[in-house]
C-alpha cells in the first residue's frame, strides 16, 4: 500500500525533473551563463535561489544543469544496459565456445577498478559529457553481462524456447521474441538502478573536477560553491539547491528501482517462512 504511494511519488518527481530539464529555455530565458545580478545575492523575487560568486542566477544554472546531469545518467545507463543485455542474450543462448571466451574475458576484466580507469581515460582524452557518459556505459556494462547471462540461461532451457526452435524459428527470432520479453523485467530494474548509480557517479566525478569549469551541471555547481567557501561562509543558497536536486532525483530513482525489484523479484522482499 505505502509502497505504491512511494512509487507514484517517485515517478512524479522523476517526471518533474525531466520536464524541467526539457523546458530549461522557457524557465530561464537568460541562460546559465548570463550575469543577471550582484554576486552572492540572497534569494529574492528576481533570483529565486539567489546568485553565485559572479552574479549568475542559481535557478537558471540549476535548470540547465539538470539537462547535463540527467543526460549523463540516462545515456550511460542506456548504453550499459543495451550492451549487457545483448551480449548476455547472445552468449547465454549460443553457449559453447563464444560463452566460454566472453566469460573468461569478463573474469580478466572484472577486477580492474573502473572508476579510476575512467578518471585516467578522461584525463587523457578530455572528452565531452556525452563521450564520458558513453565510456562509462561501456565500462559499466561488464558487470551486468553476467547477471543477464544467468537470467538468459534459465529462460533458454524452458519448453517454449525449445518449442520455438523445434518449429524452425530462427535464432534471431527466438532471442528477440521469446527470450528478450522474458528478461525484460530484469532489464527494466537494471536500467533504473544503473541510471541512479551513473547519475550519482557523474555528479561525483564533476564534483572532483572532471569537466572544465565552463560546463554547468549539478556537480560543478556544488564544487564551485564548496571550494568557493559556500559552507565556510554560511552562504546556504549557493550550495543547497544543486545538492537537494541531486538527492531528490537519486532518491526517486532508487525508490523506483526497489519497487520494481520487489515486484519482479519476490526474493528480495518478504521471504519469511
Amino acid at each position: 500500500m505505502s509502497r505504491k504511494i512511494i512509487l507514484r511519488v517517485s515517478i512524479a518527481i522523476l517526471g518533474i525533473f525531466i520536464a524541467i530539464a526539457l523546458a530549461a529555455p522557457l524557465l530561464a530565458p537568460a541562460g546559465p551563463y548570463a550575469i543577471t545580478g550582484k554576486p552572492l545575492q540572497a534569494p529574492d523575487a528576481d533570483h529565486l535561489f539567489g546568485t553565485n560568486e559572479v552574479g549568475q542566477d542559481i535557478f537558471a544554472q540549476l535548470v540547465y544543469g539538470a539537462r547535463i546531469t540527467l543526460l549523463f545518467g540516462f545515456c550511460s545507463a542506456l548504453l550499459a544496459v543495451v550492451i549487457s543485455t545483448s551480449v548476455g542474450i547472445i552468449i547465454g543462448y549460443y553457449g559453447g565456445i563464444v560463452d566460454e571466451i566472453v566469460c573468461r574475458a569478463i573474469d580478466v576484466v572484472m577486477p580492474i577498478p573502473m572508476f579510476v580507469l575512467l578518471i585516467v581515460l578522461t584525463t587523457f582524452f578530455s572528452p565531452g559529457v556525452l563521450q564520458v557518459s558513453l565510456l562509462m556505459g561501456l565500462l559499466g556494462s561488464v558487470h551486468g553481462i553476467r547477471i543477464m547471462r544467468s537470467q538468459v540461461l534459465s529462460v533458454a532451457r524452458t519448453s517454449f524456447v525449445e518449442g520455438a526452435k523445434a518449429i524452425g524459428a530462427s535464432d534471431f527470432h527466438v532471442m528477440f521474441r521469446h527470450i528478450l520479453p522474458n528478461v525484460m523485467p530484469l532489464v527494466m530494474v537494471k536500467f533504473v538502478t544503473t541510471s541512479q548509480h551513473m547519475l550519482v557517479m557523474g555528479v561525483g566525478l564533476s564534483f572532483i573536477g572532471m569537466w572544465d569549469t565552463s560546463t554547468v551541471d549539478w556537480g560543478t555547481m556544488i564544487q564551485n560553491a564548496y571550494s568557493g567557501g559556500g559552507v565556510a561562509l554560511g552562504l546556504w543558497w549557493w550550495i543547497l539547491p544543486p545538492g537537494i536536486a541531486v538527492v531528490g532525483i537519486s532518491l526517486a530513482l532508487a525508490l523506483i528501482g526497489y519497487s520494481f525489484e520487489e515486484k519482479f523479484n519476490p526474493r528480495v522482499g518478504v521471504n519469511r517462512i
Partner: protein, 327 residues
C-alpha cells in the same frame, strides 16, 4: 581443501588482469603527444644540442621499438619505478605511499566499525524480514544509500563544523602543529567526523549483503529441519543461520579492504584530508597523467589481489564455489 589447479588458474587470471591494466597505462603514456624528453624538459629540449637529447632518448630507451619499450616498462613497474608526477616532479610511487598512511588513518577504524555494525544490523533485519521493524530499517538504509556520499559529507561539515562548531572545517591538524608537532588528539579531532561518515557508508553497504544473505539462508531446508527438531529460535539464529549467512561477507569484507583508494575519494576531498583520494582529486585537477596512472595501477593491484584472496577464501570455506560452475 582447495586444489593446486584451481589456485594456479586463479593466479593466472589475476596476472592477466594486471597485464591488461599495465597495457592500458603503457599505451596511454605512449599515445601522449611528444615523449618524456619533450614533455619534461620542455624548456631545455629546444636549447639543448641534439646529441644530448639523443643520448637521453637512448638512456631511457625511447629510441627502441615499441615492443621492447613495453618489456622495459613492465620491468620498471615491477621494480617499483612508476614514473614521475608532472605537477610535482616527484616519483609517483613514493608520493602514493606517503599519502597511503593518512588514508589508512581513516580507513582502518571505519572499515572495522562499518563491517561490524553493518553485519549485525543486516543479520537482525534479515532474520526479522517481513516484519515492521525490518521494513523501517530497510527503507532508512535505502534513503541513506541513495544520497551521494559527498553530499552527506558536505551536510555534515555544514551542520557539525560550521553551525555547531564541534569539529574543524577540514584538514588533518590544527595550525598549531607548526610549533608543537603532530598531536594525537588533534588529529583524532580532525579525523572523527570523516571516520563516522565512512563507517556509516560501509555499514549500509554491508547491511544489504548481510540482509539478503540472511533471507536466502532462512529459506534453506536445514533451517526448516532445525525448526522441525524443535530447536529454539536463538540457537537456530546463532548456530545455523548466521554461520552460513556470513559466507558472502567474506568476499565483501575483502572487497572493502580493496576500496582503499576510491572508497573515500569524496570524503577525503570534502574534508581536505591528505590521503590518496584527495591526491587523486588534485591529480585530476592538474591533469597529472603519470600520477593518475600510478594511482590506477596501485588500485588495480590492490583490487586484483583482494579478489584473488576473496575467491580463494570463499572456495576454501565452501568447496562448492569453483570457477566455471556458475550456471
Amino acid at each position: 581443501m582447495i586444489s593446486g589447479k584451481y589456485l594456479l588458474q586463479r593466479l593466472c587470471y589475476s596476472g592477466a588482469s594486471f597485464i591488461v591494466c599495465l597495457t592500458i597505462t603503457f599505451f596511454l603514456l605512449h599515445l601522449m603527444p611528444g615523449d618524456y624528453i619533450s614533455n619534461y624538459l620542455l624548456s631545455l629540449s629546444n636549447t639543448l644540442p641534439k646529441e644530448i637529447v639523443d643520448q637521453f632518448r637512448e638512456q631511457f630507451g625511447l629510441n627502441l621499438p615499441l615492443t621492447q619499450q613495453y618489456v622495459l616498462y613492465l620491468g620498471n613497474i615491477l621494480h617499483g619505478q612508476w614514473g614521475y608526477s608532472y605537477a610535482y616532479g616527484q616519483p609517483v610511487l613514493s608520493m602514493i605511499f606517503g599519502k597511503l598512511c593518512w588514508s589508512l588513518v581513516l580507513l582502518v577504524p571505519a572499515t572495522i566499525l562499518g563491517i561490524l555494525i553493518g553485519t549485525v544490523i543486516g543479520a537482525w533485519s534479515g532474520w526479522k524480514s517481513g516484519g515492521k521493524k525490518d521494513f523501517a530499517v530497510f527503507n532508512v538504509m535505502i534513503v541513506i544509500r541513495a544520497i551521494p556520499e559527498f553530499w552527506w559529507a558536505i551536510m555534515a561539515v555544514m551542520i557539525f563544523a560550521f553551525y555547531l562548531q564541534w569539529f574543524p572545517l577540514g584538514g588533518y591538524a590544527s595550525i598549531s602543529v607548526l610549533s608543537t608537532g603532530l598531536d594525537f588528539f588533534d588529529v583524532l579531532h580532525h579525523a572523527l567526523l570523516p571516520i563516522i561518515l565512512m563507517t556509516f557508508f560501509i555499514a549500509t553497504g554491508n547491511y544489504y549483503v548481510m540482509r539478503n544473505s540472511m533471507i536466502a539462508v532462512i529459506g534453506e531446508d536445514y533451517i526448516t529441519t532445525a525448526r522441525a527438531k524443535g530447536l529454539d529460535e536463538r540457537t537456530i539464529l546463532w548456530r545455523h543461520a548466521l554461520k552460513n549467512a556470513l559466507l558472502p561477507m567474506v568476499t565483501i569484507t575483502t572487497f572493502q579492504c580493496a576500496g582503499i583508494i576510491m572508497g573515500n575519494i569524496f570524503i577525503e576531498t570534502v574534508f581536505s584530508w591528505p590521503g590518496i583520494g584527495y591526491l587523486t582529486t588534485q591529480a585530476l585537477t592538474n591533469r597529472d597523467l603519470p600520477l593518475l596512472e600510478g594511482i590506477f595501477l596501485l588500485d588495480s593491484l590492490i583490487t586484483i589481489g583482494a579478489m584473488l584472496v576473496a575467491d580463494i577464501l570463499s572456495s576454501a570455506i565452501d568447496p562448492r564455489i569453483r570457477m566455471g560452475t556458475d550456471e
